[in-house]
Symmetry: none
Subunit: 119 residues, 4 copies
DNA sequence: GTGGTCTAGACCACA
DNA sequence: GTGGTCTAGACCACG
């Protein structure tokens, strides 16, 4: 799994999603130490401020825990990450349906549309 | 069909979509005069500049034509509006799949997810 | 000579130019009565107000003379029309050189450019 | 090269031309960062919105690329700017010929006229 | 009253 | 500090 941010979208949420997914899939296990802000910034090719904010957001969601002078750690309960991921999926899907509705397709039509979707 | 803009998203594109859909569904026929910039601004509860911008975008796409001192008119070729609408749908769908992929679901998983979607 | 207004440009000045040219080339001779505002509006497919304004502009320039309840007449001195035409030519040409200068071409370059112009 | 907008014409297109020319002549090279919207607004003595609009137009033409929170950059392919400039020249020239035709001069006459032009 | 242009200034998320 | 979005309101030529 690699970090390929979509340049047209805000980086911070993308980074959040990426880390969250990494945790949910076990790349980082419960209690593991995440890369330091600077480290992550370098490997992700991103501004450290952005990483810092991403960590803060994840901490707010209870997915990670920051310990002063020690680093940022994955919460003991990795279930939260999984739920968070599922929430994001639901949100994006809901948004998608809303958008398609604005484009003149009701839920049924969208389902059919997706069914026949390719590429 | 009513105009209920999502407050969390840019109004201009939403307005574009709305007008485009109106044309595609025949609310405005080929050659019809659209409401004037100011008129539309009032009925949509939006700043005239925003409406003008939307009209400009639609004009660029060949969906409408603005004539100085006369008004803005639906293009003779209504097909363009329909195609434009379909393009938007495709784009949103593609984006959706990309997003879901970033959330750890491949195309197949997404299709199943959608199939079981409710609400 | 026929009246083919460029739809993308203001009609009034175009009409002025057209009438002025008609006088300069003898379509209307010195002292001749021009078509009435309404007449001209119909034949030119234009708003009567626009014709009226054009006549006013031409009168201001001394090219025609309006007589209350009688109509608009070509001035005795048609030379004025010819000079006016020449002024317009000069003005357009000067503007053209200015524009081309803004596009990075000096007078010499423009002259060469024109020399090789086709279509 | 200096920025002297013609007060009688829309500023935005003039600004576009100016920037385009700057790029075509190498003032800004491929990949270079253009002045920020606000910066350019100050140096050009123009409203930031107007600059933004110009940047948008240039972006649409593929001449520059705007990156959120980073700035606006000259496209890698500088050729586009040069072609765009040439297109503008062609367009202005074509318009000029059209105008002169409406003033009673055919292409040949115009060419002679230009040849003898001074000032 | 129409679209076209511009200014002024605000707020936003992001970096 | 960056671009992105929107509002408010002004003036213009044209019809």
């Amino acid at each position: 799994m690699s970090w390929k941010p979509d340049k047209d979208k805000p980086i911070c949420p993308q980074l959040c999603e990426y880390i969250c997914l990494s945790i949910a899939t076990g790349v980082y296990g419960a209690g593991d130490k995440l890369p330091s802000v600077r480290e992550m910034a370098v490997t992700a090719g991103v501004n450290p401020n952005t990483v810092k904010r991403a960590y803060e957001i994840l901490e707010f969601r209870g997915i990670v825990t920051s310990v002063r002078n020690q680093g940022t750690f994955v919460s003991e309960n990795t279930l939260i990450a999984k739920e968070s991921l599922e929430n994001m999926r639901r949100q994006k899907t809901a948004e998608y349906f809303t958008d398609m509705k604005a484009l003149g397709m009701d839920a049924e039509a969208v389902k059919k549309y997706i069914e026949e979707w390719n590429a």
